[in-house]
């Protein structure tokens, strides 16, 4: 893939130079010819053009299609599809719109007769409306790399969160499912990585206001992520626009791009009712191949032998005694498939009702949803209730208003996930000894209904965790925007928009003592554990703006918008922890032992202010220029920030941007061309920023400290008043092309994002008394290519087949760091160093296993043991690569062993329509990303009594045995299971993400029921991967340093859902 990357920039650069030159020339010409333009327009009044509009599928003429030259003239086609319309000049552009058909622009290019064909409304066309921060624009006229997605109600894929729905929808947008937990959604990354420590997710704007998707604070439920986007029902979404550049007006919030979500509003005045009901099954994933009792016992007798136990001690263990008259026999001679005990196929169902309608003064769209779904982990469930009320009001002739009010509430019963070896039921199911029973068994083998307690190895009973542990989350979000727009004159509008967010999440956790291994606190043993947490987020947003739009001489359009945005956000979390309640019936924090109770919390407030101005200029609908500037202030910025300007002692970031587009296909020299429909070149250069630097990071803080029983305050950090936003410069060059009468559409973009002033936790000398200081001392860059193609392969009246490919790739490179950063997460080490991608896997290289002592002594490698002596590796130990040649295996031998960034990712889409039947297919794929399989690392560590994978049967047994699986050793003194390339796997996958079939029951229009549709949707039905975990797709934590680290979250699962949709 490296070759194209290097070539493409050169080509693009050449194109950019060419574009810029010609633009310059055109602008010159335009101003030069200003005097004559009026004459042109006068003579143009006499000009007309006529033509025919046809259906692209059937070739039949289309009647009542609206043809217009904006602000000049309009016409309708007759029953033969013919029209005649006045035009201002020969190079004017016709806009073609019609009910049920796509909107299209036709540049005349001097032609007198036009023959054009239209596709159906849902056709994925290059002309589709794009919702930009400054207002709607036809796709053919945008100068930005923007993808506009019309969800079309998303009726087939109803089980998604808004972020999960975005998978495979837009090139450049990498949506990685966090886990299979319902509501967890997807981690969104637009064009790779821009920061090490700050947020890498794009800004989400819903109905004009900033929608905060951060999961503030910490969850008391292990590895649980509260996904704010789960509060938006995708069925309520009309359009999602993914804006990859052109985010500069959002200033220091635009570094990661912007996703603009617009919810449904009523389109027609007539009352319309949509009702949908679905039910389906989620399928538990295939079991990981762990050992059964027989293999496990052989492993156990091998590993116990290395524990220092005598033969008699080992043989005295109840599980080694095969005498059936032994009292413990029945308790230790079972065959339990623990994975079956924790994972199950579960049902899911949901209902949705939408009513739209209204009159001339007020239109409304009311929707309600209910969903109930169980996760694939037993006794987990989600219940979600949502309601939305959107309205459009014409208060007076000049004043209009709109509201978007939504409320979503959900109750989530969860279980711990990830590397929480005492309480994660899935992990426990993998490591629990298979010969142990689920329930208590007496000496005679009679099974009790009571669940067995923690076993002789100190491993919790997964069934006890399933049955009695509580991880409960209740959450709601109210999100509403109210906007007013006043039409001052025909060309000037002023408007304001107010957005409010109220979000609250209440969590409860209880870990019973029975069946769950104890925890160790600083001064006590915790048998039962209780926790409660309340998280709140309140945000107030306002945007007030001035708009000016005018057309000059029907050749140039000028749009100016200036305004200010204001965001005041505060969040708070309160956590209480309790331990050791009297019995397992007391589950609240207050019932715990008083002296062990802990209360803690977190509070964060910030204010952000953004002044912006933007000018869009279009000449002859061919040449487009856009210039923006944003001036940003934030309570997070240090007063002594190096960049930006100072106003009243505060630092403000200045973020200018410029973008230009050239619609070559509208040029006269392409007038005779029937092959190219749209060819547009775009380029943009913008400065944006990332304000995710912490609310109070630049300030001096104090923390409480106890010294010999005396409480006091000590300095908590070193203040950095020069702390500022991360500065991000984006360069983008791209082309949008439609050819063969729009049968084939594609876009390609090359981008280069440079982050300067990147936030880094710099290591301090220990004499300072602090370990780190936060500073803007790093830099990185990301370059990449986004490509997408859509083709109508079959275009018949009754049979249509669309296919599309999205392909994106990026290369990240850290360009400046004060020192290398090594971070650890979930057993993996990550290195960030100048010259390579941020956070790549950093560990030992291995070359198999020493087959004999002779091999080991030839290699003469040693390792420092726990007591400081040097110990030589022996037969059966892993042969680590001694990188520095000193014959000692230590940190100096660690190297980069894999990059979690993919070579490329993307999706295949296909839609087949046959009469009333349609079939949607979505494949997603990722190639070349490396994964640290933390679960396999634990299940092949061979260092304790945990059950192991079947592959451990290949372990080294005796001298001369050639294998790549080292010997079993208790406690792993030689570090055979250290973080190394043994656990780095290829995370490439190709997945049939969705296959959805839909059948519309043909109904006569006189029926009361407008339509009835049936759906069957399969999710994740096929996944092709070499990855050995449950699933190659996950996002363990919201940090760069957790990427590609599989800590054992609930895997994505297969599901099949059937549904019905009825329209009244």
């Amino acid at each position: 893939m490296l070759v194209p990357i290097k070539i493409i920039p050169c080509v693009m650069l050449a194109a950019a130079v060419f574009t810029a030159d010609s633009l310059y020339a055109q602008v010159q010409k335009a101003t030069g010819g200003k005097n004559t333009s009026k004459d042109n327009s006068i003579t143009a009044n006499a000009l007309t053009v006529s033509g025919t509009i046809k259906d692209a599928a059937t070739g039949k003429p289309l009647p009542t299609i609206n043809i217009s030259v904006v602000n000049f003239s309009a016409a309708l086609t007759d029953e033969k599809g013919n029209f005649t319309i006045k035009i201002p000049n020969k190079s004017a552009t016709l806009k073609v719109e019609g009910e049920g058909f796509q909107t299209k622009e036709i540049p005349l290019k001097g032609q007198k007769t036009i023959v054009a064909s239209l596709y159906e409304e849902s056709y994925n066309s290059i002309y589709d409306n794009v919702k930009l921060p400054n207002g709607d624009k036809l796709g053919s006229q945008t100068v930005y790399a923007a993808t506009s997605i019309y969800t079309d109600g998303n009726w087939g894929r109803n089980n998604e969160t808004a972020d999960g729905f975005l998978q495979g929808k837009a090139s450049g947008l990498n949506a990685t499912m966090r886990s299979g937990t319902p509501n967890a959604g997807a981690y969104l990354a637009l064009r790779g990585i821009n920061s090490l420590y700050a947020n890498n997710q794009p800004l989400i704007v819903v109905d004009g206001a900033i929608f905060d998707i951060n999961d503030y604070g910490t969850s008391v439920i292990a590895n649980h992520y509260t996904n704010a986007l789960a509060t938006i029902d995708p069925k309520d979404i009309e359009n999602i626009t993914v804006l990859k550049d052109g985010s500069a007006t959002y200033g220091t919030k635009g570094a990661n791009g912007v996703i603009i979500i617009t919810t449904n509003h009523a389109k027609q005045l007539a009352t319309k009712i949509d009702f949908a009901a679905y039910a389906g099954i989620n399928y538990a994933p295939a079991d990981l191949p762990v050992m059964k009792a027989a293999d496990y016992r052989v492993y156990l007798s091998d590993v116990l032998k290395t524990r220092g136990w005598t033969d008699a001690q080992i043989q005295a263990q109840p599980y080694m005694n095969d005498n059936t008259s032994n009292a413990d026999y029945y308790r230790y001679h079972n065959e339990t498939n623990w994975q079956d005990q924790v994972l199950a196929n579960t049902p899911t169902n949901n209902y949705y009702l939408k009513v739209t309608g209204g009159d001339n003064i007020a239109k409304y769209a009311l929707s309600m949803g209910y969903m109930q779904g169980n996760g694939i982990t037993k006794s987990t469930s989600l219940k979600k209730y949502s309601v939305r009320f959107n309205s459009d009001l014409n208060i007076s002739k000049r004043l209009t208003a709109a509201t978007n009010l939504s409320f979503t509430y959900y109750e989530h019963n969860l279980k711990d996930q990830g590397l929480t070896p005492k309480t994660n039921p899935v992990y426990l199911a993998l490591v629990k000894a298979p010969f142990l029973p689920i329930n208590q068994i007496d000496d005679k083998g009679v099974v009790s209904p009571n669940i067995a307690d923690t076993d002789t190895f100190g491993v919790s009973n997964p069934s006890a965790v399933i049955a009695n542990m509580i991880d409960n989350s209740k959450s709601y979000r109210f999100y509403g925007t109210v906007s007013f727009k006043y039409k001052l004159t025909n060309s000037i509008n002023i408007g304001t928009l107010l957005g409010l967010t109220f979000d609250k999440t209440r969590e409860q956790r209880f870990v019973p003592r029975k069946g769950v291994a104890n925890d160790t606190l600083a001064n006590a043993i915790a048998d039962s554990r209780m926790a409660g947490s309340v998280k709140r987020l309140n945000a107030l947003y306002n945007e007030t703006y001035f708009e000016f739009a005018k057309k000059y001489n029907y050749t140039s359009d000028l749009n100016i918008r200036a305004g200010l945005r204001f965001l005041n956000s505060s969040n708070e979390q309160d956590i209480a922890l309790g331990y050791n309640s009297a019995t397992d019936d007391f589950i609240s924090v207050g019932t715990g032992v008083t002296s062990l109770r802990k209360v803690m919390g977190d509070i964060g407030k910030y204010t952000w202010l953004n002044y912006y101005a933007s000018v869009d200029y279009a000449f002859k609908n061919r040449y487009f220029l856009s210039a923006n500037v944003a001036v940003d202030g934030s309570s997070r910025f240090g007063p002594d920030a190096v960049q930006g300007i100072k106003i009243g002692g505060n630092s403000f970031a200045v973020m200018p941007s410029v973008a230009a587009g050239w619609l070559i296909s509208s040029e006269k020299f392409l007038a005779d061309n029937k092959f190219i429909d749209v060819l547009k070149l775009r380029a943009s250069l913008s400065k944006t920023g990332n304000d995710d630097i912490g609310n109070y990071t630049y300030k001096q803080s104090y923390v409480a400290q106890n010294l010999l029983g005396v409480q006091g305050l000590v300095r908590g950090n070193i203040a950095n008043p020069a702390l500022q936003w991360e500065d991000n410069t984006k360069f983008n060059i791209g082309a949008d092309v439609a050819i063969l009468n729009e049968r084939l559409n594609f876009s390609i973009d090359y981008y280069n994002n440079k982050t300067n002033k990147m936030l880094v936790f710099e290591t301090l000398p220990s004499a300072s008394g602090f370990s780190t200081v936060v500073n803007n001392s790093g830099a990185m860059k990301t370059t990449g290519i986004d490509f997408n193609v859509n083709a109508r392969i079959i275009n018949k009246k009754s049979l249509k087949l669309d296919a599309g490919v999205i392909l994106m790739l990026y290369r990240n490179k850290v360009t400046s760091l004060p020192a290398d950063i090594v971070t650890n997460y979930g057993g993996a080490s990550m290195l960030s160093t100048v010259g390579s991608s941020g956070a790549v896997f950093y560990g030992y290289q291995t070359r198999g296993v020493f087959a004999t002592d002779a091999d080991a002594s030839t290699a003469a490698l040693t390792k420092k043991s726990a007591n400081g002596t040097m110990v030589g590796y022996g037969a059966g130990d892993v042969r680590f690569v001694d990188v520095n040649g000193d014959h000692i295996i230590d940190d100096k031998d660690k190297v980069q062993i894999g990059n979690p960034n993919p070579d490329f990712t993307g999706a295949f889409t296909s839609k087949l329509t046959y009469k009333s039947f349609s079939l949607d297919v979505l494949f997603t794929f990722s190639k070349g990303n490396k994964i640290y399989n933390g679960i396999r690392a634990n299940l092949e560590a061979q260092s304790d009594a945990d059950n192991q994978l079947l592959s451990v049967n290949n372990r080294w047994r005796t001298q001369g045995q050639v294998t790549n699986m080292p010997k079993a050793t208790w406690g792993d003194p030689m570090g055979n299971s250290s973080f190394s390339d043994r656990w780095i796997e290829d995370g490439s996958f190709l997945r049939l993400k969705t296959i959805s079939a839909n059948y519309n029951l043909p109904l006569k229009s006189t029926y009361l029921v407008k339509y009835i549709s049936f759906y069957v949707t399969g999710n994740n039905l096929l996944t092709f991967t070499k990855y050995l975990g449950y699933d190659p797709e996950f996002y363990s934590a919201e940090t760069m340093f957790a990427r590609g680290v599989d800590v054992g979250l609930e895997p994505n699962y297969k599901s099949v859902i059937g549904g019905i949709r009825i329209g009244l």
């Binding site: 027989a294 496990y296 033969d311 080992i314 592959s951 005796t958 001298q959 096929l1022």
Partner: protein, 506 residues
Amino acid sequence: MEEMEVLCHDSKQLKLKFLKNKNMMMLTIKKYRLIVLMIAFSVFFTACKKGWTDHNAVTDPNLNINLYQAIKQYSGTSVFTSLLEKTGYDKILASSKSYTVWVPSDSALANLPASITGDTAKLKKFVANHIANGPVQKSDTTQKRIPVLSGKYINISTTQFDSATIISPNQYASNGIFYKVDKYVPVIDNCWDWLNNSTTVTNSKTFLLSLNYNYFDSTKGVQIGVDPNTGLPVYQAGTGITVRNKFLDNVMDISDEKSEYTFIVLNDGSYTTELTKLTPWFKTSTTDSTNTLAGSWLVKDLAFKGSYSAAKLPDTLISQYGVKVPVDKTKITASYKTSNGWVHVMSQVNFNLTYKFPPLIIQGETPTSFAADRTAQTFYRARWDSVNNRGFNDILMQNYSYASYWINYLVKNVNSMRYNAYWVAINDIQTTPLWTQRLAVDSTTTTGNFAYVTVAYKNYTEVSLGQITIPRFKNINLYVVGANTSSSSGGGTSISLDYIKLVPAF
């Protein structure tokens, strides 16, 4: 144009050429081609196997078979295989625990005596004698003596299994390791069993077995209830009774298989000779008890830790009681290898009597009783002897105001013999007045051989007190008696004692 390798884990990896370049795409896409492509995709993918199959595949054929199968397959092990099958150990070696087997070669087993093959129980034990729990690595030098399933322990080295030499090392299977060895290792008696089964040494055997006694082992008793009055468990009559032996309890457990011992057994003649030597010093009321006491005294120094074959025996062994036992190899009449060491039958052991009967030392600071309670006047001292440069503990009594005050010491098991008596009584506190004290035996009033002795200032040496004859093997009471005056002025009546020493005068 580029090739994208589609992810598949089948060994026969197909490659699908995917046209990615837009121009190529434009030229090559024709109707239905993509459909065909996608169908091909689906068919191809469903044909793929999961990655686990490869990862878990046991590539080593040895690991696909269990130990029994592996031994059966191996060349030159068919005799042992048939023995495994005959004894049922084939099922054990096929089970889900790991083992190590030392397989005697066919030629080694060719001359296996019928006494073993003919007796199922013996054969079972014989086979078990070649099997150990868990993997035993050839290179493992930390283990020198390992338990095998017969209950015996076998000495191993990197090349040997007991006396057998390893010919084919490091053969492995899914549940363990086996070695082919050139000899079989029969199940033999341990030192104690040898004695039990011995027919040649009657006197020693009779005496040692006479030390057997019955012992109630509650862990082996069958509990049938709880006594309502005492709350103690009630056991079924006749259960839990085990036989123990005082020699094994007190001298050395030579029935223990874990360690190795050298056991010297006196032949009948020499046993009588040695016993006759000892009996005068164990005079009691009965001949039997005299013989028992003398016999015990005789055998207590005949078991040693460590395995010494006749050739490797040193000229002197030291028993665990510190008695030097001279070994005259010419007097060894027979030597027997046992499963836990060696038994040597000897016709003579010349004990050095000074070692056999060491002096009795009675420490002054461990009195048994006093004439009267004088706690406040009693000092248990830790002092420094500047002459001999040693620290010592003693007892000192001062100002107790009691005429002929005495301190009593009980001395147990004193042989019926003559002793020379000494003491060390230290006065390091006053030059004047010096006090007197005397030793008395069995009575405080009888003066007998012992007169008052003046305790000189700072005399750290042993003071000879005279001779005493003990007529019978018994416990005696010794007394240290103070001056016969109750006056306590100036410390003139004091008692001090570091120790009393009774040295046998043969």
